[in-house]
Symmetry: C3
Subunit: 213 residues, 3 copies
């Protein structure tokens, strides 16, 4: 069964989704930067790092240098565009309904996690590492953003976020292992990640802590 | 004079020690994560980063990509195992006698520092950089752990820890420079690092600060 | 029109300036370390990271591994020398007139930013990324220093510092694009960066924040 978007090459479809997800994460990250009282430059840096930091770390770790986000100017441009939109119309960005934002963010997480795991497999790392690279792609930008804003990264202590990324990456890696076509392996992983994330938000799930600490 | 473990190849002996040290550092790091109120996922991340972060940074810096800890699934598995043990039996891990823990940790530090310096020399960096890479291997994971937990890294302001790693790395690098066999160069460095660290703990040594600050 | 320093090869002139800038930034960084109550080892680490961290991150990102500061022992030695001078004579370092320090620092920033952008172009990244790499070279060390000292990096919320680095890098990259000789492209960028930084300090400029935040 072929990939379902017949008129486009899968890589084109992926690229469009990837750039959209980058824009969205840049909008979110730069909004956090405004709320942390950064200046215009700082907001643009946070937009860039939030959107591209995870993929850059992944590329460094799997040996794909220079990282895609450095080599291909479109990623940087889109991330900075997201930061610029926040600077110009922060009030408007803040009025985006929360539920829509969460949904788009879950879609972006799914895409990043699954594409990250797929790329890691392509570069020949072990399946375990490919799963970790998927989660790194999805969550790494947010971790660096939190470090720069002098906070303990949110994904380490609250929310089912990285766990959804891991689940999606695991499904993709296992599917590739069983020789499913690449498009389907990625679609399956993305659906799992997105669904898990949305259910966690809807039902208020969070991961357990060690009892008493 | 040949390497003293006759029945095993030196690389096998090293691998076993390396995996043991990784497990120990993962146990320590993940315990810090529990005490910082991280959730299950966060504890596993801290276990992974504490145990493997130093070696990953070293490999990135000397150009050995993908880093060994990403390429070889055993390291990630052992680190996550350490985190898992902490999650399941944190109370028990906390009852390990302090003196035993400190001794094992000093042994792990010695192994990481010496192996890190040796690998850096092998990749052709300068002797000064090889010494720094040894200390990075020994201490880098702890530094990233402290950054994630939003603390000034402990090794920067207290304790004779990194200094012991540096001393061990210097001895190894100088010994290799004088063409001592590799096994002996590493053994000499490890003994120096371990001894210095244990004496520092025993006698309560700490490094001086600039007077008045 | 040839490069103006006739008796020296441009690379020699650059190297001398680069080592001087490294020493200066190491002195500044290590002073911040003393004020943050780090011990002797911590002060040396901060000296090293402040002076060389930006260039190391740039080299990792453009794929120039091992980074120059790791391969060439002179950079590490100069950075540690700067840290050592601070340790021995912190009081004296503190008496350097503020205006002189700011001027030298602006010169160092200009050199790092312009040389960083030039090197990135040489490694074939996109012009946008080359500009970002110039700013990273100039400001990256300070960002890592602030992270280690558990602060929100200063360049993200105050001062026209990174902006000057970006301006210098843009001028250099655009000049190279229009096929100006390399020496002149770098000189033009450095003059712009230095002038902008000095004017910002003189007139107390700072970047705008999003209104109300």
């Amino acid at each position: 069964m072929p990939f379902p978007f017949k008129r486009f090459r899968p890589t084109q479809v992926l690229l469009v989704f990837d750039l959209l997800a980058t824009l969205l994460v840049a909008l979110e990250g730069s909004s956090a930067g405004v709320l942390a009282h950064l200046d215009f430059f700082g907001v643009l840096v946070i937009a860039f790092i939030s959107a591209l930091g995870g993929g850059i770390v992944r590329d460094l770790l799997i040996g794909a240098t220079p990282p895609n986000a450095i080599r291909d100017w479109r990623y940087g441009a889109i991330a900075l565009l997201g930061g610029g939109i926040t600077l110009i119309s922060f009030q408007t960005v803040q009025t985006v309904p929360h539920h829509l934002l969460v949904t788009l963010d879950a879609a972006g997480l799914a895409l990043f996690a699954v594409a990250g795991a797929d790329k890691a497999i392509e570069y020949g790392v072990s399946p375990l590492s490919a799963v970790l690279m998927g989660a790194t792609t999805g969550c790494g930008g947010g971790v660096i953003r939190d470090l720069l804003l002098n906070r303990i990264p949110a994904i380490l202590h609250s929310d089912v976020y990285a766990t959804a990324a891991l689940a999606g990456a695991i499904v993709t890696v296992v599917s590739l292992r069983f020789r499913l076509p690449r498009g389907w392996a990625m679609a399956a992983g993305a659906v799992i990640c997105f669904t898990l994330r949305m259910m966690a938000v809807t039902f208020g799930w969070s991961l357990p802590h060690v009892a008493g600490y």
